[in-house]
């Protein structure tokens, strides 16, 4: 009896030691190099992620998780491509200026943000939780960032699956697109000399992969690494004459519509100007890019591809139980 008890005790002690060793292993933080090139110590499996910008929300929902805080683009506007889930998540301000106190209140153990808006205040964010900043501008940023963050969150296979699926979908849509037809397109912010994106931009890249031709072309000044677009004068627009125009829709001000040139563009005459939503502005997330792909295909070739139902597509990508 006594030997049984001591054996039991030894066994439990051993398993305890072993177990705590394993636990200690899990609790040891890992180091991740974010897009600033800085090595950041992050917890091994973050449970409470603050998403500063919709990319974080998008990614987490697609992984079957939920962030504990989010920001907004326009107050009160809950984007469809996230199924309005942002309504239930604490909102802490705009993506460029998240409120520090509210962020601290949310008690995150990881902060994911867009680099160009927030890196100036990195020191303060770092005090709350490990802070990772991502460029999220180029097409290549999408796969890479999704994989890195998902691996950190313990969902590496899901990320690989998402990336592979997107690659397949893109190839499938491109194959189905009519050959030899290269509709000229333009992706822009509204304005008198509209800010037009080069091919390196994610949405422009998707459109190009589908066979479209960006009237702005590639970044002409590659030494300017953050040169993603140009204020294209209306004269140039007239000359290049895009057939399809995509406008990021942010407000009542649509000054380009008041311009006489606008009405002589063939895109306007044929009614092929599309005001697109938040998923186009933050197109790098797994949900957003799939929706952008389908919308882009539909708007480029309306006879071949049907108009996607944003909510339905988003639902397909969000695993049923996410909490």
């Amino acid at each position: 009896m006594f030997r049984a008890i001591t054996t039991l005790l030894k066994a439990s002690l051993l398993s305890l030691l072993f177990g705590s060793a394993v636990l200690a292993e899990e609790a040891k933080p890992t180091a991740i190099t974010d897009d600033r090139g800085i090595k950041v110590d992050v917890p091994a499996t973050p449970k409470r992620v603050a998403a500063i910008s919709y990319f974080g929300v998008d990614l987490m929902l697609a992984l079957g998780l939920e962030p504990i805080a989010t920001t907004y683009m326009v107050k009160g506007r809950e984007p469809d491509f996230l199924l309005g889930r942002t309504r239930d998540i604490p909102q802490i301000g705009q993506r460029a200026k998240p409120n520090l106190e509210l962020l601290a209140d949310a008690k995150p153990d990881l902060i994911v943000a867009m680099r160009r808006y927030t890196e100036g205040n990195a020191a303060q964010y770092q005090k709350i939780a490990p802070y990772l900043a991502y460029n999220l501008e180029l097409y290549g940023d999408s796969d890479r960032t999704i994989l890195q963050l998902a691996t950190l969150l313990g969902k590496k296979e899901r990320a690989e699956q998402l990336n592979a699926e997107f690659k397949q979908d893109l190839a499938a849509f491109a194959a189905k697109a009519p050959k030899g037809v290269h509709p000229r397109f333009q992706v822009m912010w509204a304005g008198d000399a509209p800010w037009t994106f080069y091919n390196e931009n994610m949405t422009a890249a998707i459109l190009t992969a589908l066979g479209g031709e960006n009237i702005a072309g590639n970044n002409p000044a590659t030494y300017k690494v953050d040169n993603f677009g140009v204020e294209m004068s209306l004269e140039t627009m007239l000359e290049k004459d895009p057939e399809v125009i995509f406008v990021y829709d942010y407000g009542p001000d649509r000054p380009n519509e008041n311009n006489p040139i606008w009405n002589s563009l063939s895109a306007v005459k044929n009614g092929r100007v599309y005001y697109v939503g938040d998923q186009w502005v933050e197109a790098h997330g797994p949900i957003a890019r799939e929706i952008v792909l389908r919308e882009a295909a539909h708007y480029l070739y309306p006879d071949v591809f049907p108009k996607p139902d944003v909510a339905a597509e988003a639902t397909k990508l969000i695993p049923a139980a996410s909490k």
């Binding site: 304005g191 008198d192 004269e235 007239l238 942010y250 000054p255 040139i261």
Partner: protein, 346 residues
């Protein structure tokens, strides 16, 4: 006193001619510069192409660019510059203050703030209403400035400082309203510094009545302008009802700004510098001064606009930057001269 006023109001025959010739010269320069501007832009054009496009317009791109973009843009620039010059002249005359101008009395800032307020908070309001709203805003700001400076009875520099205060306050308000409107940085910068990108015939037609009304009113009332630029007592002594005519002149001075601001945003320094330049040419009377101001202001802005289009092509620099860079140092130089505002300062 009466003789001087009479001479100023009537003008000698010789004075009239040379002033008209000068005005004509400015107009010619404006046309030449504007024409030169036709050749410049994102798509450089050759001289023969441009001439063809003007005199034998066809349905090709070059003609469209000339007739829909560059030509009306230069005309719009001329109108805007002329209107601002006129506004500055009127303000400086009736307040007898060499520093009065739409920017330094807060008129421009008032117009900008009220228009920005409209499209951020009342987006459903058609842009046709922007000019009258700008008028109300500009008048309100000017009234505040003049109230601060007790109708200009204090030192002229006090008026300028009061105006800058009002302008700064309204500028802060404008920036905040723009930031509230969401992530639209290009729009913000336009409303902060002005520009003529994409301005076409509809905009020209929009501005014309406002500037035209002010011009006609000023010309009709040029004798009143002459009297008021002497002194309040002299004008009252001649039987002028100050309580009526001063506000009228203020309204006349604000009309061009109300028409120009919705189209071109806030363009600085033209209203300040042009009347001074014209004064150097010694016009014989208000009527000729008015014509010269319009012509010179128009010419300056056309030139500034061509520069704005071509310096950083294909990017466009807001034209307000060019005018500030030219007008600003001139303004600094003005404040350094010993006889600053000679003959007018109290």
């Amino acid at each position: 006193m009466r003789g001087i006023a009479a001479r100023q109001a009537a003008g000698t025959a010789g004075g009239h001619l040379s002033a008209v010739a000068l005005a004509g010269l400015f107009l010619l320069i404006a046309i030449l510069v504007g024409f030169g501007g036709l050749l410049v832009g994102a798509k450089p054009m050759r001289l023969d192409t441009a001439l063809n496009a003007i005199f034998a317009p066809a349905a090709n791109i070059d003609s469209t660019i000339v007739w829909t973009l560059r030509l009306p843009r230069s005309i719009a620039a001329f109108l805007a510059g002329g209107g601002l010059g006129l506004s500055g002249y009127l303000l400086q005359s009736f307040s007898r203050n060499p520093l009065a101008s739409p920017d330094l009395t807060g008129v421009t800032a008032g117009a900008v703030a009220s228009i920005v307020g409209c499209f951020v908070f009342l987006p459903w309001l058609s842009s046709i209403y922007y000019a009258p709203i700008g008028l109300v805003g500009g008048l309100g700001a000017a009234a505040t400035t003049f109230w601060i400076a007790r109708g200009g009875r204090t030192s002229p520099l006090h008026l300028a400082l009061g105006g800058v205060t009002v302008a700064l306050f309204l500028g802060g308000l404008t920036t905040y309203m723009l930031l509230l409107g969401g992530p639209q940085s290009p729009a913000v910068l336009f409303w902060l510094s002005g520009g003529l990108q994409g301005r076409s015939w509809s905009h020209v037609v929009f501005m014309l009545p406002w500037i035209g009304a002010s011009l006609i009113g000023a010309l009709l009332g040029h004798r009143i302008v002459a009297l008021l630029s002497l002194s309040d007592q002299a004008a009252a002594g001649m039987g002028l009802n100050l309580a009526l005519w001063k506000p009228v002149l203020l309204v006349l001075a604000t009309l061009p700004v109300a028409g120009i601001t919705p189209v071109a945003g806030p363009i600085a320094f033209i209203g300040l510098a042009v009347p001074h330049i014209v004064r150097l040419l010694r016009p014989s009377g208000p009527a000729t001064a008015i014509m010269l101001n319009v012509a010179a202001g128009g010419m300056l802005l056309v030139a500034a606009d061509v520069l704005a289009r071509s310096l950083a092509a294909p990017r466009e620099i807001p034209v307000g930057i060019i005018t500030a860079l030219i007008g600003g140092p001139y303004f600094v130089y003005l404040t350094q001269r010993p006889n600053f505002g000679a003959g007018r300062e109290r």
